[in-house]
Symmetry: C2
Subunit: 481 residues, 2 copies
Amino acid sequence: MAKNDKKVAAITSMEEDFAKWYTDIVKKAELIEYTSVKGCMVIRPYGYAIWENIQQILDAMFKATGHENVCMPMFIPESLLQKEKDHVEGFAPEVAWVTHGGSEKLEERLCVRPTSETLFCEHYHNIIQSYRDLPKLYNQWVSVVRWEKTTRPFLRSREFLWQEGHTIHENAEQAREETIKMLNVYAEFCELFCAIPVVKGRKTESDKFAGAVDTYAIEALMHDGKALQAGTSHYFGDGFAKAFDITYTDKNNTVQYPHQTSWGMTTRMIGAVIMTHGDNNGLVLPPAIAPIQVVIIPVSQQKEGVLEKALELKELLEMNNIRVKLDDSDNTPGWKYSEYEMKGVPLRIEIGPRDIENNVCVAVKRTSREKSNITIDTNLPKNILVKLQEVVDELYKSAFENREKRSYPCKTTDEITSVLAEKGDGFIKAMWCGSEECEDKVKELTGVSSRCIPFEREEISDVCVCCGKPAKEMVYWGKAY
Amino acid sequence: MAKNDKKVAAITSMEEDFAKWYTDIVKKAELIEYTSVKGCMVIRPYGYAIWENIQQILDAMFKATGHENVCMPMFIPESLLQKEKDHVEGFAPEVAWVTHGGSEKLEERLCVRPTSETLFCEHYHNIIQSYRDLPKLYNQWVSVVRWEKTTRPFLRSREFLWQEGHTIHENAEQAREETIKMLNVYAEFCELFCAIPVVKGRKTESDKFAGAVDTYAIEALMHDGKALQAGTSHYFGDGFAKAFDITYTDKNNTVQYPHQTSWGMTTRMIGAVIMTHGDNNGLVLPPAIAPIQVVIIPVSQQKEGVLEKALELKELLEMNNIRVKLDDSDNTPGWKYSEYEMKGVPLRIEIGPRDIENNVCVAVKRTSREKSNITIDTNLPKNILVKLQEVVDELYKSAFENREKRSYPCKTTDEITSVLAEKGDGFIKAMWCGSEECEDKVKELTGVSSRCIPFEREEISDVCVCCGKPAKEMVYWGKAY
């Protein structure tokens, strides 16, 4: 049995071909595998474990903010989908239709849910009568289907996993508050747990969710300067309530329409993590979502006492709820280093005979590759947690610096064009008059589209970047995933 | 605002109409709500929380036995489904077919997975080369679709939630060991956590999973004497490997076919819990899967100090990881008692001014309704846990006694008929020659079908209950959900 019969093959460098670098990582880190179902993928154990960690953190945040999980059917009858006209216009062109059950043709065809507003609305209609039934703060963890033409693992696939929050409230104020609250939950999740800095903002009219009054999003900037929408939160007003005849009797015995929201985050987050933190050695995972937070690699493991000491370390870390793996396979340490760098394990611990003599182990961060000796004593778990926090901080700092370096205030479309030509893709910060015409023209002339109207407005100029008329909004523009 | 504006409506008694009693409970305990999607349901927060608890316990058991979670696509191309002939024959008549994506007709239609063997096989084919790649011990938590004609909440629905384990091994021995190991995990889960006694056994040839060499099941007996299959575990041999061209090179460099298993448990378990433990006051939940394990109901809550003390108790229990709810709404205590009995909360704590004077609270078990005073001190959480364990024990004992009382050894089909007529439905224990003809005839003559060939054989007689020829197997027969 050859020691290196399973090699960690090198990946395309991101400078050479960013798209290829990305797909190399998702394959080599064993996150996904392709299938014969076009546009759908297998999420492999290592990829799914990342998603489970994301789920666990988000689910706890949802429950801490009073939300309950439910489960709706995966099918939506065509007539139900059609009840809200903007919504059906937005989604009907891209749904999968079930037309037969067994050998029988269905009386009414069913679509596989692309999103579940219509099902939630039908349910609200059935269960809400009085103000005492409000609010309902629901969420579900499911997969949805959208019949995309071109697909890429995690970023755009015909089926993807997500959570969809759906809430219903007595009035606009409460629903609006919920919309922003959940946007903030998403931002906090991205920044604290995924070390991805995000811009919070509102979408322009043309970029809103089908059926929404307002759509809010968090936008992140990837390594290659392209923007990625990491989560959205929608305020629906009472449009769905009117379309689905959802009413309640208020405290004064008056019949009212309730106000709704929905918000979602998807397996796309895994793509965002790859393209924000990954490097030419592979994936780099923030510890909070890493399936393996620490990998222990014994050096000269055939020498007496090495494996025993490695196991002792493993147990010590496990007792402190650190997700740890000891790799005592017969691959060489060098092979193992490459393997776990590819898999993005945040911290590696090397331990060999000389370390044991000195009662230390060597910790190597995936980020800076900085090595340090850590004394093996009762403080070890605490010191490892410090190292893991350093990894998070380094990841965030580096992502933040990349974003700042690639954010360009521009005053004219010519300036946008020349900045992009000179410096490559990034966020363009520019003023806008608010007209859809100018929004379209900016895209046509420069290739960037509006990403969001940020909550933190900067005054780049007084006039629209396109028409020169007085500016109404400040907009982040970019090329989007 | 009337104090009792939301009444707990009475349910049909189980003696009067068991089926109606069942559907009354799933509605009144707010487990599910019907939808316009025929045969599909909304699982409401309280129902879904039960499923989340089931998931959490099972998932930990799966991981402790070395399994990893993955996620396969929900669609199966028709050609892929057809690769294993027994499998497609079993499932094709009951699948939902997707024929269109958006406005375009698909080149090949896709079924919504009724189960995922074919997808796992395609994946194994792609990722397995050497014995070093084996075993793969996979599981996924998803929903599946089977186009049933008649449906009942949790027991039989067109879409249902489940986990499906899929494993692949070097040889038959390892795969067979896995099959039985997971059957034992299911049995342990049912008995320890759901307080449902089960019979472990093998299915007859005619009742096997489509494509399996052997199917094993755990069978439970419901209140009404009908049998419910609570979990199945299948050994596939190398049939799927041959159909899907999955091979590996063994240690001697010989190409071999690996051997496979699959095993599943579904939201049916919630139906099993209802029909095993429920009574005419509603649901009764075993503490391990109860969303609320203890409900605290203040008595005379407007009196000074009552709500404060109730809150103190709540926090004390929460700190000890007991799932507790304090109901301080303005409904009457009597209304609340009914409400939480309907919802099956295992233990109720009542606390009023006189209790506080005596430094006690009153614990009332959902099972026996036995009341006891518990002193409010640091031992309280421990004493509450003891009470919860008593509830589990009482539930198991009562379910076990019901099953024993309703298990009838029979030597002839006439005896089966008269036992069923006299005593009602139950498990019939009878010998069988092993022929499908006799199996069919027993069903035709008596109405009971074979449930399983139990691992623990009893010698009811020497000869087949039907033909009188020498007996080969001892079989549990029954009417099945």
